[in-house]
Amino acid sequence: MSTRKAETKQPTETKATRRYFDEVVYWLLRAVMYFVVAIVGFIVLKIVWEGVPAISWSFLSEMPRKGGAEGGILPPIVGTLCLVTGTIIVSLPLGVGTAIYLNEYARQGPFTRLVRSAITTLAGVPSIVFGLFGLGLFVYFFGFGQSIIAGSLTLACMILPTIIVSSEEALKTVPQSLRDGSLALGATKWQTIWKNVLPYSIPGIMTGAILGIGRAAGETAPILLTVAASYYLTLPSSIFDQVMALPYHLYYLATQHPEAAKVQPLQYGTALVLLVIVLGFYMVAILIRNRFRKQCRW
């Protein structure tokens, strides 16, 4: 080996240069890492810096005027909240049910393998394809039209894998002895799950649900095809109504608006509100996760 030969000739110097070389490589990797961190920081700070001046109570609580060039963003905020609520109502029971079945009931076999590969497939489907699917199935085939319900169902399909995977992780962390103890006392399987397994996995399930909500709130491509109106000033009164949505509103203001350059403060304001909502959900999820980790020691 060449290095060893070199070492026997001039041991101290080679060692020193090698250590020096090692340090250089470490610093290079560190630079790469902090480069990414700097970009993330720059993006977030830039949007906060430019967005904060645009935020006011009237911006959040008023209707847009003049095609979005003036006024507030109340309808998109309400629309996004409606969509997110609908999404979670559909996907949470389905996702948690799937996780319970996979982790508590099913024997490992062809069926569970099929379910698992369906979940990973679903996780990899591009969001615009979900949009096409929602358009074909919910908007036209079921005849919901472009509406909250079509959009919520589409988004629910999209975040289902997130909820299933995190719920199953949560169920897995509950020790088997808790189930055994309950069953030994004569409880049925469902009583055991309901009283002894689910309560301990709720933080984990909530983390997954909140991450899913965050994703649903920020997605644009699926709702582009299934719900969103670019300018629609009536607040929704039923689940079959069209709504505006924050991500689509930002897209509209930034690229479709005839005076895109003039409405830049509004763009930054909308971006900031969207970012705060989405990242707010993520923060809550991370807080719950950390708290739960500290509390639970079996």
Binding site: D22, L29, R30, V32, M33, V36, V37, I39, V40, I43, K46, I47, L94, G97, T98, Y101, Y105, L114, V115, S117, A118, T120, T121, L122, A123, G124, V125, P126, S127, I128, V129, F130, L132, F133, G136, L137, Y140, L160, I164, T188, K189, G214, A217, G218, E219, T220, A221, L224, L225, P247, L250, Y251, A254, T255, A271, L274, L275, V278, L279, I286
Partner: protein, 290 residues
């Protein structure tokens, strides 16, 4: 053996039904995309997709050639992958092997934060901040081109590469590293000749999954690539990806028109590409988990 109560049975069946919905949804996605794409094969015929032009609205002759869209997606995806791989893997190595635990606790959430930024917000950032920079640096007439798109996509793919690669690197058994160090290798030699090669299949899976995300990404790409449908492999050209085409045009097409069905054909191609990438990635992941 006590016979289960009917309630227990009902609950079991309900949960079984819930578990089956995932399979149902995947099946429905394939069925509905296929169902809406098939009429195109019947009426203008699949050979139309081989044309070199995508001119969906025209007074003379409409053309639905997928070639410009596929090269657009390919160009952007390959460039983004080239950008994201060294940065993502470098950051993953740093997080897994070099950072102190305290440093990790701060850095990891920041990477997760990047994953959380909605793509339309990143697209907006790209449009307002990145595009002018690219325009100035390369001296181009416009900053809306494949280069800006792939830089933005690379950024979006970094969290995927980092978190899966880091996982793979961390799951390399401690014994491998100890053995290497005991033989006199330095920490760096151990890192690059033992740890990283041992985690290679996980790292490859991370890259494949990231590519799947890049191909499927819609909003950011639509906002910054300029959306000119032409066959080109020049990074400074405007390109139009498959995803952007669907998102931009689906709103304006009459239902059941040739254009409508053509967009579903684009969707089918997109679905198949991401499906294949994910399958390969899953195989690689299983490789290192076992």
């Amino acid at each position: 053996m006590i016979k289960p109560h009917w309630k227990e049975k009902a609950i079991r069946l309900t949960l079984l039904a819930a578990a089956s919905t995932s399979i149902l949804i995947v099946a429905l996605i394939f069925i509905f995309l296929g169902k809406e794409a098939v009429p195109f094969a019947e009426d203008p015929g699949l050979s139309n997709l081989a044309s070199a032009d995508w001119v969906p609205v025209s007074f003379q002759e409409e053309q639905f050639g997928l070639l410009p869209l596929i090269t657009g997606s390919l160009l952007v995806t390959l460039m983004a992958t080239i950008f994201t791989v060294p940065v993502g893997i470098g950051a993953a190595i740093y997080l897994a092997e070099i950072a102190t635990p305290k440093e990790r606790a701060i850095l990891k959430p920041i990477i997760e934060l990047l994953a959380g930024i909605p793509s339309v917000v990143l697209g907006f950032f790209g449009l307002i901040v990145l595009a002018p920079i690219v325009k100035a640096v390369f001296g181009l007439p416009t900053g809306l081109n494949a280069m800006t798109g792939s830089l933005l996509l690379a950024l979006m793919a970094i969290p995927t590469v980092v978190s899966i690669s880091e996982d793979a690197i961390q799951s390399v058994p401690e014994a491998y590293k100890s053995a290497s160090l005991a033989l006199g290798a330095t920490r760096l030699q151990t890192l690059f000749r033992v740890t990283v090669p041992a985690a290679m299949s996980g790292i490859i899976a991370a890259v494949m999954l990231a590519m799947g995300r890049i191909v499927g990404e819609t909003m950011a790409v639509m906002m910054v690539t300029g959306n000119a449908a032409k066959v080109t492999l020049d990074p400074t050209d405007s390109v139009r990806t498959m995803t952007a085409t669907i998102a931009a045009e689906m709103g304006e097409v009459p239902v059941g028109s040739v254009h409508y069905h053509a967009l579903f054909c684009v969707g089918v191609v997109l679905l198949l590409v991401t499906f294949l990438l994910n399958m390969v990635a899953q195989r690689a992941l299983r490789g290192y988990q076992n």
